[in-house]
């Protein structure tokens, strides 16, 4: 009953078992469970919110004023107003608690020589440590402003500038 033939069966059994184990190990190790941070869904929600807020700041509140608040802020370099308006818009919720989103805002413009440079407009008083997931939103404004590096007269008049805001959630 017991002979060397049996070793063949045993070996085959062990070999098959080893193959299955190896496969299972490889498969289980390679499929990963996606966490919320990986799926970019929170990035999308943040980007939608940020562009809403920036766009609403660029809308005049009634027809008598004509100028939007953002235009006035860029023309007068008013960091305080930008900060309070933007943080209110972005952190208000329908319930009573508030969200905690922070930002850094720049104004990008074209210099007289044709090159592009930017100045800081405002920030939320919290430094950006690069560990957070940040999203950038931007909006166009037509302003009448002389930028700092402009000394020639042809710098006056209207410019189209991009207000860019980097925002992240704490």
């Amino acid at each position: 009953m017991v002979n060397t033939d049996g070793q063949l069966y045993t070996i085959e059994g062990i070999a098959a078992g080893l193959i299955m184990l190896m496969t299972a190990y490889i498969v289980v190790n390679s499929t990963s469970v996606y966490t919320l941070g990986d799926t970019h869904i929170s990035d999308m929600q943040l980007e939608v919110l940020g562009s809403d807020a920036l766009n609403l700041m660029n809308t005049a509140p009634n027809s008598t004023l004509g100028k939007s608040p953002l235009q006035t802020i860029v023309e007068t370099d008013d960091a305080e107003t930008f900060r309070s308006m933007f943080l209110t818009l972005v952190n208000d919720r329908a319930g009573s608690d508030r969200d905690h989103i922070h930002f850094v805002a720049n104004v990008t413009y074209v210099e007289v020589g044709g090159s592009v440079s930017s100045t800081v407009l405002s920030d939320s008083l919290r430094p950006f440590v690069s560990g957070e997931h940040a999203v950038r939103v931007s909006d166009w404004v037509i302003v009448e402003k002389r930028f700092p590096d402009c000394s020639a007269q042809s710098c006056s008049g209207k410019h189209a500038v991009l207000v860019e805001v980097l925002l992240w959630r704490d």
């Binding site: 049996g6 062990i14 299955m20 609403l56 005049a60 027809s63 004509g66 818009l89």
Partner: protein, 359 residues
């Protein structure tokens, strides 16, 4: 059946059973509907905030969805004023959307804003700046399991109104040459100019719908006050009692290119809305005297049957005792309900937050 065969087979089966128990662990992250929730919430947010809504195929003309009486005529909800003004919501549409007596949760909303075969449950809330309690539609948001979520910032465009008091009456010289008991006051709402003319200081031709007064769809409130202050105070001192009786209010409209006045009766549709009146039975038109002030509140849709490119004339006749000269503009121009901020309080844009949760 040799033992060796059995041993080999046993080793194989044990390993197979153990591997088979590992497999369900691979399926932990896989639940098709939870992956969808954020996508459905995002899509619902976009439909509500950036789309003006759509009516069903049987509706004739360009009637907007918010004045339809039959909900089968509404194909899709949308709160934006128009396609060119995303994120600016119409107060009319907001009121109609959150009206739970007109639409029932969840079927009516699912077919018109959520879409899809799976019966998603949802909660849509809108809170305006300065208000404590949000308006909402749907179930309470769950605490203990995952839901898809999106938050949008919006502005809600309110309605315009005007108060014609002593300042305006004096400024435009609305007076007769002699004291009369029966005074006639005319107001013109020039739809053609309101819809196509210049709006205040706004230069951008793309987003002007956010600031326009739309007589066909907006609520218009006209208050006439200071009725007693405009009379001769020497002959009739302020302590002398006076009476104001509203005799009649007549509506006329003109059509584009045609200067004749045509009478018109307001559409029956407006009777479905509640409006303020000071008598026990419903009164046509919605105007009344209270505390010696005349107030006319034209609900949304009141003027919807008029020509969009014509003008609307409102003739108010009242009897004032003692007689006076003021508040009579039959010999001058009618009061123009236009974009001048001194004449009319313009529609203002109020900040608001909308949240959509889907599960």
């Amino acid at each position: 059946m040799s033992i060796d065969f059995l041993v080999g087979f046993t080793i194989f089966m044990i390993t197979f059973i153990w591997v088979a128990t590992l497999i369900p662990g691979l399926f932990i992250g896989l639940q098709s509907h939870t992956i969808d929730y954020d996508a459905v919430a995002y899509r619902t947010g976009v439909i509500l905030v950036e789309d003006p809504g759509a009516v069903g195929p049987l509706v004739t003309g360009n009637q907007p969805w918010e004045i339809q009486n039959d909900k089968r005529d509404i194909a899709r909800f949308g709160l934006a004023i128009s396609k060119e003004t995303p994120r600016i919501l119409d107060e009319n549409k907001v009121n109609r959307f959150f009206c739970l007596t007109a639409f029932s949760y969840p079927e009516d909303y699912q077919k018109r804003v959520i879409f899809g075969d799976y019966p998603y449950r949802f909660n849509i809330s809108l809170k305006a700046a300065g208000e404590d309690i949000p308006r909402f539609v749907g179930d309470v948001v769950p605490d203990n399991y995952q839901y898809g979520y999106i938050r949008r910032d919006v502005k809600v465009k309110g309605f315009s109104n005007t108060t014609i008091g002593n300042t305006i009456i004096t400024k435009y010289g609305y007076k007769n040459t002699e004291n009369v008991t029966l005074n006639e006051f005319r107001i013109v709402i020039n739809s053609s100019y309101l819809l196509t003319g210049e709006v205040g200081e706004i230069v951008n031709p793309n987003g002007d719908a956010a600031y326009r007064i739309n007589p066909n769809g907006d609520r218009i409130i006209i208050n006439i006050t200071d009725l007693d202050k405009t009379r001769n105070t020497v002959a009739h001192p302020p302590s002398e009692p006076y009476t104001v009786i509203l005799k009649e209010v007549k509506f006329y409209q003109t059509h584009i290119g045609d200067l004749n006045l045509y009478a018109f009766s307001p559409v029956a549709a407006f009777e479905n809305f509640n409006y303020v009146n000071w008598s026990a039975t419903a009164v046509k038109p919605p105007a009344g005297i209270k505390d010696s002030n005349l107030s006319m509140i034209f609900e949304p849709g009141f003027f919807s049957s008029t020509d969009k490119y014509g003008a609307i004339y409102i003739n108010v006749t009242f009897e004032l005792d003692p007689p006076q000269q003021f508040l009579n503009n039959t010999r001058t121009r009618p009061f123009d309900y236009n974009y001048h901020p001194a004449n009319v309080t313009q529609p203002a844009l109020k900040d608001a937050v909308m949240e959509v949760a889907v599960w």
